[in-house]
């Protein structure tokens, strides 16, 4: 079943969601980096044992704890089953996995697209709103202060305003013939379901998610960067199956990323007047490869899960 983009012409209208303030209105796609050369050298963040036993060390440790256990440490801002570290591997340290040491020195960031400047706090607020399907913490909140302290500390010795190797997920070229959802399902069943569950729902131990959900109401929403198939393919190729990163072919990574992102997830909080069509036009049409507002198997995606 080859996929082609068939933007739905149907004018679907949904109940208008209460308009939430969106501090940074898209999960701006990082300029993709090339696949790293073998034996590439990356920036080395300091080790935890180097942290001082004072108020600074305390704040950094708290930031790290929030980053790896966001649902428990900052429940008022999280609306799904995810933690920051689910996508920023090795607690935000791993190169090629959007590490915090690659991010922090690049802000405030100017974006010519809308002639705006975004601060580091706003970038993190974006991840809360979209990836965590939650409510962004205020810029002066303790949660953002702690996460900023953690990022600052990880960046110790890194140059400012210079793109470091390993900042983004390395780009994976789209297969020449496009992606294939049926083959994506096969990869999923053979290599992913053992951890993420047969329905992408993740797996819990007691109340805690151990394996994060890949779609459905507990996953990232339709506005998150990971909803782009190109971004998800790059992440998956680099880091999945867990511990066996780099083992999938480019084609497998694209197929399984497309399969994952052809399922429903929470609505895009930027939904315009309840219209998927309008929202696709404004926010998704030029945002990499994605299936928001696109018809798959006779159903227009982007309905949301609630």
């Amino acid at each position: 079943m080859r996929m082609y983009l068939a933007v739905a012409a149907t004018f679907l209208s949904l109940p208008v969601a209460a308009q939430t303030a969106v501090p940074m209105d898209d999960q701006s796609q990082l300029a993709p980096s090339a696949q790293p050369a073998a034996g590439a050298e990356y920036f080395q963040p300091p080790s935890e044992s180097d942290l001082p036993d004072n108020a600074f060390g305390e704040l950094v440790r708290e930031g790290r704890a929030i980053f790896v256990d966001t649902r428990k440490r900052a429940p008022e801002y999280v609306g799904n089953g995810m933690t920051c570290a689910n996508c920023h591997m090795d607690q935000g340290r791993k190169p090629n996995s959007a590490p915090l040491w690659g991010a922090y020195p690049m802000y405030p960031a100017y974006r010519s697209k809308n002639d705006k400047v975004n601060t580091y706090a706003e970038r993190m607020q974006g991840c809360f709103q979209f990836s965590m399907n939650g409510t962004p913490p205020p810029a002066d909140s303790h949660v953002l202060n702690a996460l900023t302290a953690y990022s600052y500390w990880l960046s110790t010795g890194a140059p400012v305003a210079e793109v470091l190797p390993g900042r983004a997920y390395p780009e994976v070229p789209e297969p020449a013939g496009g992606y294939d959802l049926a083959q994506g399902r096969q990869v999923y069943d053979a290599q992913c379901a053992v951890c993420h569950g047969p329905e992408g729902q993740g797996q819990k131990s007691g109340e805690d998610f151990v394996f994060p959900p890949l779609w459905g109401k507990e996953s990232f929403n339709w506005g998150a960067g990971m909803h782009r198939i190109n971004t998800a393919a790059a992440f998956i190729k680099e880091s999945m199956p867990l511990g066996k990163g780099g083992s999938l072919t480019d084609e497998q990574a694209w197929n399984v990323a497309a399969f994952m992102n052809s399922h429903e997830r929470p609505q895009d909080p930027r939904l315009i007047d309840g219209s998927i069509e309008e929202t696709r036009k404004k926010y998704h049409a030029n945002d990499g490869v994605n299936l928001y507002g696109v018809e798959v198997d006779g159903v227009v995606l982007g309905q949301g899960t609630n």
């Binding site: 790896v68 440490r73 340290r93 951890c195 151990v210």
Partner: protein, 210 residues
């Protein structure tokens, strides 16, 4: 009439379940129909928590699906354990099923749920809660759950096992005498670990159960 047959159906249902449970308990404490299928209790203890000194593992509370798979794999040879092989060879499929169900339902002590957000103070804790990502080794708890309590039908508990047993399994993966993990998920990790790490992480998880 209908009510009666429904009631009768229910009764049969209940009876079969309790017969199965009894059968499982019997196999556990007295052994299988074939005399070579020795009673589990001999080595794994009445409480199913194993015998640390001799390296016999905890079974209590392990998922029945996981346990059935292990017993079948021991039969098939993708997992090698000399003490177990005459025993599994003497068990029928039905016996494997009922004893696995019984084992899953055995009560277990409550273990501490140490999370990734906790601080680390030893090499073992470092591997368990931080991993060694420079070698693509994830945090143990990212699959085995907080404190290594186990997750679902594929990721068994590590806590409550002895250091002896845990280390013996990591070594079995390294040496290829255990190859029954899904997609070599554990094998490739074990093969990247140093001897020092094998000991440290085994001590860490066994320590949490004490």
């Amino acid at each position: 009439m209908k009510t009666i047959s429904v009631a009768a159906g229910l009764l049969t249902c209940l009876l079969t379940t309790s017969i199965q449970a009894d059968a499982g308990a019997d196999i556990y404490s007295k052994g299988g129909a074939n005399a070579a299928a020795l009673a589990c209790v001999t080595c794994h203890g009445a409480d199913g928590l194993g015998m640390a000194a001799s390296g016999f593992p905890r079974l209590a509370g392990l998922s029945a699906t996981y346990m059935e798979k292990q017993l079948h794999d021991l039969k098939a040879g993708s997992r090698v354990a000399p003490v177990m092989s005459p025993i599994v060879n003497a068990l029928t499929d039905e016996e494997i099923q009922s004893v696995s169900q019984y084992i899953e339902n055995m009560p277990t002590p409550s273990y501490p749920r140490v999370e990734r957000s906790s601080e680390v103070d030893s090499l073992g804790a470092q591997l368990a809660l931080r991993g060694a990502w420079d070698r693509n080794i994830p945090e143990c708890v990212s699959c085995h759950g907080p404190g290594g309590v186990g997750v679902g039908d594929a990721f068994p508990p590590l806590v409550g096992q002895s250091s002896n047993y845990l280390a013996s399994q990591l070594v079995a993966w390294r040496e290829g005498t255990r190859q029954n993990d899904p997609n070599d998920l554990m094998g490739h990790i074990a093969r990247s670990m140093t001897d020092e790490e094998v000991t440290a992480v085994s001590d860490y998880f066994s320590g949490l159960g004490k």
